[in-house]
Symmetry: C2
Amino acid sequence: MSERFKFDISATDGNARTGVIKMQRGEIRTPAFMPVGTAATVKAMTTSSVRATGADILLGNTYHLMLRPTAERIDRLGGLHKFMNWDQPILTDSGGFQVMSLTDLRKMSEDGVEFRSHIDGSRHMLSPERSMEIQRLLGSDIVMAFDECTPYPATKDETRVSMELSMRWARRSRDGFNSGKEHADKSALFGIVQGGVHEDLRRTSINALTEIGFDGYAVGGLAVGEGQKLMFEVLDFTMPMMPTDAPRYLMGVGKPDDIVGAVERGIDMFDCVLPTRSGRTGQAFTRRGTVNMKNARHRDDPRPIDETCGCPACSDYSRAYIHHLIRTGEILGAMLLTGHNLQYYQDLMSGLREAIAVGALREHVAAFHEKRLGGDITAL
Amino acid sequence: MSERFKFDISATDGNARTGVIKMQRGEIRTPAFMPVGTAATVKAMTTSSVRATGADILLGNTYHLMLRPTAERIDRLGGLHKFMNWDQPILTDSGGFQVMSLTDLRKMSEDGVEFRSHIDGSRHMLSPERSMEIQRLLGSDIVMAFDECTPYPATKDETRVSMELSMRWARRSRDGFNSGKEHADKSALFGIVQGGVHEDLRRTSINALTEIGFDGYAVGGLAVGEGQKLMFEVLDFTMPMMPTDAPRYLMGVGKPDDIVGAVERGIDMFDCVLPTRSGRTGQAFTRRGTVNMKNARHRDDPRPIDETCGCPACSDYSRAYIHHLIRTGEILGAMLLTGHNLQYYQDLMSGLREAIAVGALREHVAAFHEKRLGGDITAL
């Protein structure tokens, strides 16, 4: 039988690492970017197209799936992988982040969160135990502990109280996860470090989590409006305190330069809706930066978005055509641009992995920044 | 050099025919269904996916393309085939039908139609000459004559006057088409029979068109609200008057049983937005009839829409998943259902072609009707 969960780091360069997470459903090359498949679909993409970009793992959202079509229904239908036709690993979030954002529809307690569905107002409960149950019903490969994403900004006292609650919930998440033995034997559980922008609270959180023991450790409470500079400062003091032999996951990040800076600081995994959401609104990610394909300067341009990109949009279509599709609101525009953006993100990750492998990350990152010219792709 | 245009009928069965149209960009197996690519895209589909369903030819809309991105722009970018990445034949309509439907925005004269764009109110002119020019700029393989689609209902006098105008425009279309020699040498021009529900007017129209001479003949002015019974009656008396050695195209048709009945009456080509539009609103075409995939009875159904269908939706996904995608408004739902519906239509055509080829159309059509049970696919 293959490994339940094994993380092999094959090379480091400064604080950055590259390696492979081995799981029963497949290998995840790190640093990894996970496309977001919110409602059991990466929006505007078939799973085979997502796989073709180089994605090794998808993210699924517990909150959305528990409401529609429900975890119980997905379980009856054979699990999330079969439901959405994706046989590689899936990481599911705990539902905590989305539930916390339902400011007017939720009630927090030590036990968990009572909330009303944003779809039909129906009542639901999320707790560490229920989150573990849902992620088990979905058949998740990497299960996230249920935590409170500390609001930003928050006072240090508020941050401490929130973090301490999350640590108690982390213990309950571990117990809940372990109680589903059959699923626990073939999946992994990640804990989530909280503590906001405070080094001592982050240390307390890490100590609490490593005491419990997890397969990987996420950095939570970032990318919530604090800005890149502060996010990097938090990573600068948090990374050295984290276990070196387990994957480190920066949740909800981010823009390409966020990812590059976080990889330099030792992060191994990322997820973000940016490439997919941007694809549906006409934004293309390129070596030169983000480009608005709605802009009239593209309308006569026979060149591909990026001739060095191997995605269908760049192999088969002109900037003029993509521009036309976006301007006319055609679904194919969202399909092609989403595919391009996911390809950009996967190419970004493979470039970082290769640079770390040969010890050339510094030069690679310098070249990455030098190429970016405020989205001017006319010079591409 | 390959043929400009050649129609080989390989078998007949009653009034039905099967064969192949040979053109420089490829062969079109008849009876043929042409998916509609209104704005240089078959909505929610890549061209390779459209081709994979078995489509030999697409339809492009002159009206939409002349407004956005404009025929001149498409010409500068290398033509419609290159623009939208489709190397098989394309038939373009003349723009007449869409322009006529702009009831409050158009002004008719002997010369043509002045109209305002439904997008930005800008002024435009369509005439036989301008329509031929636009279709030439697009690089169309099968060009449609510019005509007036007679309103329905109309008096016999109104129908005669309109038909006679269309016949004068047919002559001007032929002259305009011929004047673009380089394009005329590698493409084909179809005339459009008008005359409403009146046998004598249809005869007059056919005589006028055959006198001018066209590569194929369309039946216009049907599928405009007259109902299937009356449409079939018109076909019953019109088909025997039409040339037997040229393709016959029933424009804008239709539902599967419309197509089956029209094939029985001798029609060779069809186009319709129904499979694509229905795919975006949750309707699936099946052997049992049209099914609303939004219906709650599908939500726990692990079976494919139709296990005998080879499309991606039926190969890889359950009815429950398609139902979920449609209910949550996911783009992938439109993608998968559009693909399924186009596959259904192409399978319908290939079934008819094979039945005609072996002289078993009557039995084939009887089985087609017998299977249809008001959209109840639970018995599939």
